[in-house]
Symmetry: C2
Subunit: 225 residues, 2 copies
């Protein structure tokens, strides 16, 4: 917990899932105040206490409802399965006004999860933007990162492509990527989120074809930090 | 020209452009018989002779019209700007029946080339499939590879994601990727081509933001050949 931007509060909505818990762990470790949100607070409190145990108490992680987490947070990060995407956003959208939403959702449609299938809005992130409205900046990120390596000290071999409604919002999220120990890239406007969300299906395909479990991507030919 | 599958003929339609010429060079070097196609044969003959000079005559590269090239070839590779995509396909589609088309096209819409903008078919490759019909297998590949490094001996630091209408067709094209000295991955059905085509806009964005000129991608976490 060194040099952490202590005043910034991040809500991880649906943070009791593996991806959410992994991201929450990484940000809490970096010194952020983290709120784990869930539909009911019980599961969220349990997840928060698990992360606090992993970090031996030297962090700030609190479990609560999605709504309360979104209300208290500066930045809300949505990590729910696509089936809960719309309902969760509807339930918190008033609390997001004037703030930043980070959408991690991949619109996978089981059982065909290795085939790209986008909602009519173009992508889950664009759909989120439609739901939360013009007063919320929406950034899409972390969709390709396998949860398995987040909840630990391992190096994650997958870059994060960050798309979003403004350059300023993307830069804000690139800081969160770095704080989580990952390499991020500004990948342009929110319309480009279709590529990053769809890439998850491509990576699932590669895992299936080549017997791997956590295929990822890395940007080449550009200067890494 | 060792161990080349000498009997296979590849047509590079629109092969007088930089990307096409680079691919033609690589396949000719690997021992394939290569036909360079263009709207008129003059430019194609000139491009073929340039490649023959680079390879010091130890290859088979012939320039002709797109139609003649497609007629003679086992596999046709389309490397035209998106503005010429439909017209070129219409002009050769009868010659492609029962064969394999590899679409390299990225549907960039100037001036907004760093924003993903797909045709109504979903992607250029899916649009190609609509145009050429059910008797042609369509595979999309090479869309992210910067032409600059193809026409030479340099290692290309960009993997090739191969999507297409059947696994067999994708496997055929993965051989061409390897013959060109690149690493390819089976990235699933033709619907996934939206990701690979769109990735080009993301890479253009990264070049713009980070001052690079040939950003690419590499698959991590899966076994490389």
């Amino acid at each position: 917990m060194v040099n952490g931007p202590l005043l910034l509060t991040i809500a991880v909505l649906g943070g009791t899932g593996k991806e959410g818990k992994g991201l929450a762990y990484r940000w809490a470790r970096a010194g952020y105040r983290v709120l784990i949100g869930s539909r009911t607070s019980e599961k969220a409190v349990k997840a928060a206490s698990e992360i606090m145990t992993l970090l031996e108490g030297s962090a700030s992680v609190v479990g609560t409802t999605n709504l309360e987490a979104a209300q208290q947070a500066d930045i809300s990060v949505l990590t729910v399965p696509y089936s809960a995407h719309r309902a969760t956003l509807e339930s918190v959208k008033d609390a997001l006004k004037g703030k930043l939403l980070v959408d991690v959702t991949v619109p996978l449609v089981p059982p065909k999860v290795s085939k790209v299938q986008m909602p009519t809005a173009g992508s889950a992130a664009q759909e989120a933007k439609e739901i939360v409205g013009s007063e919320v900046e929406v950034v899409a990120a972390f969709q390709n990162v396998s949860h398995e390596h987040l909840l630990g000290e391992e190096q994650v071999e997958c870059d994060v492509l960050v798309t979003g409604t403004s350059k300023k919002a993307r830069e804000e999220v690139l800081k969160l990527v770095e704080a989580a120990g990952l390499t991020g890239w500004d990948a342009g406007p929110i319309e480009n989120s279709v590529v990053v969300e769809g890439l998850t299906s491509v990576l699932i395909n590669i895992n299936k074809q080549y017997g791997s479990t956590h295929a990822g991507i890395r940007i080449t030919g550009a200067p890494r930090k």
